[in-house]
C-alpha cells in the first residue's frame, strides 16, 4: 500500500509569545515542530505499513526550513520525502495550499493520503478535505484509528467530542487524523543517523505546472487574506440568566440593543 502523509511545520504554540504592540505572533526564536495532528498521521501511516506492508512517503509545502520537519519524519520511519517549495507558493491560504499539494500529488502514486485534522497555527481544518475535492477522492476526517480490512478497504473510527462512527472507505482516499487519539513514536536513533543521508525530492512549480496554473497558487490564488491576528481580550465575568426560551430571545435582543450592536 502506498501512503503519502501531508505535514506542516508550525511554531510550537505552547511556547509562542504575542508581540504586545502589534498583537501578532513572535516567530523568531520559537522552536518549530511537526504539527501534532500531522505527526499523528505519520504514526497512523507507519502502523498501517507495519500491518499490511507498503511504502510511506511524506510531503510538505513550506520554506527551506521545512526540510527539518521532513527529516524528522524520515527518522520516525518514513521511506521517502518530498518538499514542495518555491516563491510561487508563498502567502497561500488554505485553498491555494490545497491546490498546490493536490497538484503535486497528481504526479505521485498513492493509495491513501493522510493529513492532520488541522494545524495549530491556523486551526482551519480545511486543507485535507479541500485536497480530497481537488483530487476527486473520498475524504474521511477526524480519524482516531485506521484499520486495514480483508477486502482492501479501510475501517476508520471517526471521533467527535461526544460520539464516534465507524466508516468503511475504498482506496484511493484521504484521511485526516487526530493527535489526541494517536500517540506518535519517537524518532528511532538509527533513523536519526540516516535521516540526512536520505534524499529529499524538491518539487518546484515547474514540476506541477501542467496540473495547476500560477494564478491558483500563493497569495494571488488566495481568496482569503489574514486581516488581523490578535490575542483574545480578557473580558469580565458575564451575567447569567435562567429563563424560558421565549424570554431568552427577548432578553438577548434587549441586551444587543442596549450595547448598540443592533
Amino acid at each position: 500500500m502506498k501512503i503519502v502523509v501531508c505535514i506542516k511545520q508550525v511554531p510550537d504554540t505552547t511556547e509562542v509569545k504575542i508581540d504586545p504592540v502589534k498583537g501578532t505572533l513572535i516567530r523568531d526564536g520559537v522552536p518549530s515542530i511537526i504539527n501534532p495532528d500531522d505527526k499523528a498521521g505519520i504514526e497512523a501511516a507507519l502502523q498501517l505499513k507495519e500491518a499490511i506492508g507498503g511504502e510511506v512517503s511524506v510531503i510538505t509545502m513550506g520554506p527551506p526550513q521545512a526540510d527539518e520537519a521532513l527529516r524528522e519524519a524520515l527518522a520516525m520511519g518514513c521511506d521517502k520525502a518530498y518538499h514542495l517549495s518555491g516563491r510561487e507558493f508563498a502567502g497561500a491560504d488554505t485553498l491555494a495550499t490545497s491546490r498546490a499539494l493536490a497538484a503535486a500529488l497528481e504526479n505521485l502514486e498513492y493509495d491513501v493520503i493522510i493529513a492532520g485534522r488541522q494545524a495549530i497555527d491556523g486551526d482551519t481544518a480545511q486543507v485535507g478535505p479541500q485536497m480530497a475535492e481537488h483530487l476527486g477522492i473520498p475524504n474521511v476526517s477526524y480519524a482516531a484509528s485506521i484499520e486495514p480490512m480483508d477486502d482492501g478497504c479501510l475501517k476508520i473510527k471517526r471521533m467527535f467530542e461526544d460520539e464516534h462512527y465507524f466508516v468503511k472507505v475504498h482506496t484511493p482516499c484521504l484521511i485526516t487524523t487526530l493527535s489526541e487519539q494517536i500517540k506518535p513514536r519517537y524518532m528511532h536513533i538509527r533513523g536519526i543517523y540516516s535521516a540526512y543521508q536520505k534524499p529529499v525530492q524538491v518539487i518546484t512549480y515547474d514540476d506541477i505546472k501542467n496540473n495547476v496554473s500560477l494564478d491558483e497558487l500563493g497569495s494571488s490564488g488566495s481568496p482569503t487574506k489574514v486581516f488581523k491576528s490578535f490575542t483574545k481580550e480578557l473580558k469580565a465575568a458575564g451575567e447569567k440568566f435562567e429563563t424560558t426560551p421565549e424570554e431568552s430571545a427577548q432578553l438577548i435582543m434587549n441586551k444587543l440593543a442596549e450595547k448598540h450592536i443592533i
Binding site: E72, I189, R190, I192, Y193, A195, Y196
Partner: protein, 381 residues
Amino acid sequence: MDVQLSKTHELLRKMVREFAENELKPIAKEIDETYRFPRETIDKYFDNGFMGFDLPVEQGGSGGDMLGYVIVMEELSKVCLPSCSSLSGHNHPVISIIQEQGSEYQKKKYLEMLTSGRKLGSFALTEPNAGSDANGIQSTAIWDGENYILNGSKCFITNGGEAEVFIVVAITDPSIPGSRGKSAFIVEKDFEGFSVGKREKLMGFHGGSICELIFNNVKIPKENLIKKEGMGMKIALGGLAAGRVVVAAEGLGCAQGCIDEAVKYVKERKQFRKRISEFQNTQFVLADMQSRVDIARMAIYNVAKMVDAKIPCTKEAAEVKLFATELANEVARKCVQLMGGYGYSQEYPVEQKMRDAKILEIFEGTSEVQKMIISKEMGVK
C-alpha cells in the same frame, strides 16, 4: 551552542530531550524513593535504538557516534542519572568489548542478544578486595579440560541484578601475578552456579540495580573466553577512554540539570521583598557555575570527537572525567544551597541529584585514579 554540531546531532538532541522529559522525568523521584529498577525504561531504550547506540547497523546497532552518545548521556543525566547509567553500563563496555574483541561466534550470538534480543548487559570487574586496585581480583576461572570453572564474587556491579549477559574478569593462571594471569569471559545469567547476591544500599542511585554477584563452580564454555587467556585486564581497561568521556557527559548533564532547577526556583522565590534572583550573590554563583559547565561541555564534545576520529586521548578523557564529575558535585551542592531549605527537601529534585552525583567521582576510575593517569601522561613520576 557548538556551531560544529551537525543537523543530525541537533535532531538527536531534540529526540533525546523529549524522551527524557516524557519517559524518565515522571518516574525519577518514585524510583529513588522506592528503590525500584525501572525495567520499562530499559524496554524503551531497546524500542528506540539506544541499545547498541554506536554499534554498526549491520551488527544490530544504531550506527551512532561518540559525539551523539555524549549528547544522549548529557540529556538523560539532566533528568535521571541512575537511569542513564543503566544504559551506559550496557553499551560501554559490554557491547563495545564484544564488538572490538569478540570472536565471530561471540559477536554473532551476543551482539544480537544485547540488541534485538533485548537482553541487558553488565560488566563485572570490581570485587570486595579489588576496587581501584583492579589487579587485586581474586575470582578464579580454572580450565578443567572441558570448561572454565568460575568461583568467587563481584560487588558494586551496575545492572547486576537485572542483566542476562555479563563480562567477567577472573584469574585463569594463579601462578602468574599481575594482569597476565587474568582473562575475560562472557557469562550468561543462566549458567549453572551463577547467582545474584545482595543489592547494594547506596547514598544515591536507588533506581539502579547495583549488586553483588556470586560464582559457585560456574561452568563457562571455552567459546566464551574473550580473545586469549592472560588478556583479561587489557580487555577490561582497554575501552576506558570512551568510558571516561561518557561518565564526564553524565556529570555534565547532572550539573546542568541542577542549574536549570535552581534558576527556575530563584526566579520565583521571594525573600526580603525581592525575588532572590535579584541578589547579586545568586546571579554570581549561577554565572560562575554555568561558565564552568559550558566550558566542560566544549571540552567533552571535543574529546568525543577525538574518540570518533580515533585520535588517542587517554589524558584528555581522564581530564574531562576528573573535571566534570567534580564539577557536578560542586554544582549540586551549591544549587541545594541556593534553594535553601527547599533544596534540602525531597519535594524538590536537587537533593536527589546531589546524592546521585557523588558516585561520579568514584566509579569508572576514581578522581584519584584519573590523576594518576594524567600525571603519568605528563611524565611526572
